[in-house]
């Protein structure tokens, strides 16, 4: 008897705690989701629907044609191909150069290593604006403006945060693996390629994801280095479309929103597929303090 009453009070307390928590979390979720919902809602309206008073969240007919309209307006597929082209090269360059440097910094003892690693880490703090103008000049003098070289080439020369991240991971791989390989007559490059890299796949996945998202979303680089409409990336193209149409009378907001939805889509998809890796990558830096 007493056991059951005790059980039911505990149960009821837990239940009410759950209810309060879920209500709070649910309300916050609505706040965070509202902008996305608004974007999807506006994308499905026509111009009159966008400006209607009162606004109808669910249009009488969802206008899917807005998406195909904006793909021809942008031109979406052209820009998607450009962006993908840049992203693939940046991915290959970043993974290769950063893992090589991380291997050197974590596995080989050589004079000057720790000083150089400290130098590498400290460049993370340098704001890009300081080197932006000389780099721009350099790329102008090489004739690289309006080409993808300024966006791709630097990726092949390492990036401090990813070097740091990979080095941290490489240090957790037991050295016994290397030593066994040395006994089998394997050289450094061999160990790097056929032992460390396969074992470091989770860390490489984190770097690849962050690089993909960073390159896909990059705005500043394309903004200063690309200036003809054919070479633009998706992000730059969307911004150009926005400045062409906004403020010119009845702006086609439903089309701009449809464009924004399309550009966010790959991000969101990748995020849902690989959320764990994102969390891991973000926390590696944070937990070290």
């Amino acid at each position: 008897m007493t056991e059951t009453t005790r059980f039911s009070t505990v149960f009821r307390a837990a239940l009410s705690r759950y209810t309060v928590m879920y209500l709070l979390l649910g309300a916050l979720c609505l706040l965070f989701l509202a902008p996305f919902a608004w974007m999807l809602s506006v994308s499905g309206h026509d111009l009159a629907g966008v400006f209607a008073q009162p606004y109808r969240w669910i249009p009488d007919r969802y206008r899917w044609e807005n998406f195909s309209l904006v793909t021809s307006l942008l031109p979406f597929w052209r820009y998607a191909a450009n962006t993908l082209f840049i992203t693939v090269f940046v991915l290959v360059g970043t993974l290769l150069s950063c893992s090589l440097a991380a291997y050197g910094f974590s596995r080989i003892r050589f004079r000057g290593r720790d000083t150089l690693f400290a130098l590498c880490i400290s460049t993370m703090m340098l704001p890009g604006q300081v080197t932006m103008i000389p780099l721009y000049m350099l790329f102008v003098s090489l004739g690289w403006i309006d080409t993808y070289f300024p966006l791709i080439v630097p990726a092949f020369f390492g990036s401090p945060f990813y070097i740091f991240l990979l080095r941290q991971f490489f240090m957790t791989i037991p050295r016994e693996y290397d030593e066994a390989a040395v006994l089998d007559g394997a050289g450094r490059l061999r160990i790097y390629w056929s032992i460390i890299l396969p074992l470091a796949r989770p860390a490489l996945a984190v770097v690849a994801l962050f690089t993909f998202v960073g390159t896909w979303n990059d705005f500043f680089g394309p903004l200063i280095y690309l200036n003809s409409p054919e070479t633009a990336t998706l992000t730059l193209g969307l911004s150009m479309l926005k400045s062409q149409v906004v403020g010119t009378g009845a702006t086609q907001w439903h089309l701009l929103m449809a464009g924004a939805v399309l550009i966010m889509l790959p991000n969101v998809l990748i995020f849902f597929l690989a959320q764990k890796h994102f969390v891991k990558g973000i926390t590696v830096g944070g937990l070290r303090g």
């Binding site: 130098l119 704001p127 080197t131 390492g158 969101v268």
Partner: protein, 305 residues
């Protein structure tokens, strides 16, 4: 024998870091030095640069009201967006740090905005901030409030951008959440045995234990706040190029001003001087944080990097 191995290590070590080393000289150290030189000269890119000494820096601080405006705007943005981000991120992380069914879904939803495309987000928020038909003012109207002009108002455009930045707290939130999950449960059990309440445990266990994560987030959001650009570039100004920066330059932040000086006015020397001033501010704030951090950041033995 030993020296031969040493020499071999030396060469193979440098071979592995070679790409980074070249990149360091070519894309970081070299441009940094060049940037110092350019900041002491007047250069429009059309003619050869001419040496002007400290004149750029002098003009920036003594006769450039726009610079002071951009400095003030940036300070305003950092002052509000950074503390609000930290507090909100911590609050959300505390809410998420519970064993509830389906908690992962909530985490995903809070995290999502922080990884999406900033230009797309900016365009979305222009429309949310539309005074007549935007989501925000429509919602305020339901509550009987006549919403402000947001991006078109000198007073409200900066708060608008700060509000939007809070939508992206997901990154900091994730860092806090991981830190919270790393606090050993024994500590809470011991505190409970000692009769400490929830509030005491929070201030004496939780906060010290997650202070390294807080320090990291604080430094990162400060650096990020000083470099705010894309939102201001995309969301403010009219279709005319050069008008970015909002009503009466209310959202002309330092990096936006630098960008306009370099790539719209082609004053490369002046813009380089601005870049060094920006770097100086970031450096000073980071060092001050580091110094202050020694007082409140708690590192477990051997944990200090």
């Amino acid at each position: 024998m030993k020296t031969a191995a040493h020499r071999r290590n030396f060469w193979s070590g440098y071979l592995f870091i070679f790409p980074w080393l070249i990149g360091f000289f070519l894309f970081t150290a070299g441009p940094m030095l060049a940037s110092i030189g350019i900041s002491f000269s007047s250069w429009s890119m059309l003619s050869a640069p001419s040496w002007v000494g400290l004149a750029n820096y002098e003009r920036i601080f003594t006769e450039d009201p726009l610079f002071l405006r951009s400095l003030g705007n940036t300070a305003y943005y950092v002052l509000f967006s950074v503390p609000l981000t930290i507090v909100l991120a911590l609050g959300l992380a505390l809410l998420l740090n519970q064993r509830l069914p389906g908690i992962g879904i909530f985490r995903t939803i809070f995290f999502l905005p922080s990884i999406t495309n900033l230009v797309a987000i900016s365009i979305l928020w222009i429309w949310i901030f539309n005074p007549e038909v935007g989501l925000l003012n429509r919602a305020l109207a339901v509550a009987g409030i006549d919403g402000p002009l947001w991006l078109q108002s000198e007073t409200w455009s900066k708060p608008a951008l700060i509000l939007m930045s809070l939508w992206g707290v997901g990154g900091s939130m994730i860092i806090f959440l991981a830190a919270l999950q790393g606090v050993p449960p024994e500590l809470y059990e011991a505190a409970e045995l000692d009769g400490a309440g929830h509030l005491r445990s929070f201030f004496h266990i939780t906060l010290p234990m997650i202070s390294p994560a807080m320090f990291f987030s604080l430094v990162m959001s400060l650096i990020g706040g000083f470099q705010v650009f894309t939102q201001a570039f995309v969301m403010t100004g009219t279709t005319q190029p050069g008008t970015e920066g909002g009503p009466n330059n209310a959202t002309l932040f330092m990096v936006l001003y630098l960008y306009k000086k370099a790539f719209q006015d082609f004053q490369m020397g002046y813009a380089s001087a601005l870049a060094w001033i920006l770097f100086f501010f970031i450096l000073v704030f980071t060092l001050v944080q580091k110094k202050l951090g020694q007082r409140w950041v708690y590192y477990e033995a051997g944990d200090r990097p």
